[in-house]
Symmetry: C2
Subunit: 355 residues, 2 copies
């Protein structure tokens, strides 16, 4: 069967090498005669997987092991929404509201302290990243959603602040070469650029562990997970293994700086076509466009069925936009080959000639 | 390579059919041309997987869909320790302490209300199940650990109580034919009888959802997960799929009543050998012995290396006891073939003749 061009927003495409190795491991991990998913998480084989994954997760961001540590937890970004607040929201936290996921993060945080929405792009259905706001020095932390999967916007400038900066980076971690040390805490669900859904990467500045502000249940307590080397309880072994495979694939392919070049190339090609082709219009403000999630609408929505049929025939999958934006969303994560982007662009040209 | 006899306590053995199907799905799910782990959890393919898994999880326990519902969550039993209390511990809860996992469950619950240890087998290193205790009617719930993986004990009589009964059934769910409707809430980490680590099954009496006693963060709130059909956020898709495969395998093989017969046969053969063979002694009280985790010690610990070497040569894996018990633990979950148990018994006889 012809492989599909998978533009799914998440869970989403991973490298075919990752699929191959992960599939093999379910039958027989590294030829030990046992499946990855039937061995103890305390076995030397899995302990090594966890250690390598944690080490690469820090190293590939260009962060120092002395200053940062990382965890592979469960529960997705949705659990981090409450966990960051449970641990660190003593009195006041600042949030930049750039869409649905920021809204959800704020909702959970409000149970633990005062949440200040310092800026919002809600006035224009979140099609831009707010830039004018003041961050008071007395905040416990400032929280941003670095890339907005639904709306296709991305922080290209990371806010400069003396406050500890936290970010939900679920949909753009490892995609671009920024100074990750601006963040005190980064979290990301695995299921975009990392691995199978079920693991959540948390990268945390070690000094944050001294700032936990209340008694936190063990499973929600960052310090306990760090003290237990991310093995406080049974980790999601398969998901963690796929993260390790993706991180190795990233490293082998030149790391974040090389992948960023490819991601910029892919997204530029696609945005250029959107801007050139009169049948389409981009959704996000040009200067805030995401290099991971490209959102666009038809200029004439009545022609949707025609484009949908063309896409189906071309084996293109997962490009329907989120209901709050409509139109289309092409998610072009790290593992998306440029050929799939080119196929989509050809299709847009074909559509233009057809209608 | 010769397949190992895998007695691991968890993650642990699953049916080879489950490994085969799960491995295939990572390359190409049901021939759709995409990997299970790269499709949207909102796709019709995955929605069907989740629906089937939830339906079978209830049905195979002999419970009614009208009265009960089920969820596949994340975070393992360790997250359920805090979640049951966060949702339902208004003032007073009773716990029967039958080992390390009960202790952990109580620890987390104490953050939310008064925890009453109604009985404990701590006095004899948890080698038995307490039977004499009184349960007051005014408790918010009574919590038991139905099977104690570390100590090899199991509740063969489920407590009769008017209070809502909760159980951690991580290591014996689907292993025996009991009246599951005695419980108002059952939870189980997937990684013993169900599937790959990363999913946690929660079976809950629907009427419990009206008893949530405080404002609970979304990811910890049972009602929200039920209202969202166990898809409030991205589920651990691979782990859920392995649970579905195991539940189908269970159903095909006659369900819980048939597997119970096999489990009783396997455990009886092994306990009989432990009792017969003067080189071994069982750890758990005879009447409280688990049919899932068989704990035993050498009568002469100085001969441990000899037995360990024999086991290694026989391709037996994962039988070292937990450090708090020492000796050996043979975990013989649903998927463990009787041939592996017979291999272990032969080995015990061989050891007897050798030393």
């Amino acid at each position: 069967m012809m492989k599909k061009h998978n533009f799914s927003a998440g869970p989403s495409i991973l490298s075919s090498e990752v699929f191959d190795e992960a599939s093999k491991s379910v039958l027989n991990l590294d030829n030990i005669g046992l499946s990855l998913i039937e061995i103890s998480h305390r076995s030397k084989e899995f302990v090594k997987i966890m250690e390598e994954a944690r080490e690469l997760s820090i190293g590939q961001l260009g962060l120092s092991k002395d200053e940062y540590t990382s965890l592979f937890l469960q529960g997705g970004a949705s659990t981090q929404f409450l966990m960051v607040a449970y641990n660190f929201l003593n009195q006041n936290a600042g949030y930049i509201n750039t869409g649905s996921w920021s809204v959800k993060a704020m909702k959970e945080a409000k149970l633990f302290g005062n949440v200040h929405e310092l800026a919002s792009s809600n006035d224009k259905n979140f099609n831009y990243i707010p830039k004018d706001y003041t961050v008071n020095d007395d905040l416990d932390y400032l929280h941003i959603t670095s890339n907005n999967t639904i709306f296709g916007t991305q922080f290209h400038e990371i806010p400069e602040t003396k406050t500890d900066l936290f970010t939900d980076m679920s949909s753009d971690i490892y995609s671009r070469n920024i100074d990750y040390s601006k963040f005190s805490l980064i979290y990301a669900g695995a299921q975009k650029n990392l691995g199978a859904a079920g693991a959540t990467l948390v990268v945390i500045r070690k000094s944050m562990l001294e700032k936990i502000c209340r008694e936190v249940p063990s499973m929600l307590n960052y310090k306990i997970h760090v003290d237990k080397d991310s093995m406080f309880n049974t980790p999601p072994v398969f998901s963690v293994y796929t993260c390790l495979l993706s991180l190795k694939w990233l490293q082998k392919n030149g790391g974040v700086s090389e992948i960023e070049k490819k991601n910029i190339l892919k997204s530029t090609l696609l945005y250029d076509e959107i801007d050139r082709n009169s049948q389409f219009k981009g959704f996000a403000n040009v200067e805030d466009r995401s290099i991971m999630n490209v959102t666009f609408n038809l200029t004439d929505e009545s022609k949707k069925e025609i484009f949908d049929n063309l896409a189906f025939e071309a084996n293109i999958s997962g490009i329907n936009g989120h209901r709050s934006v409509g139109g289309y969303r092409a998610s072009i994560y790290n593992a998306m080959p440029i050929e799939s982007v080119e196929t989509l662009i050809e299709l847009m040209k074909k559509f233009e000639n057809l209608v």
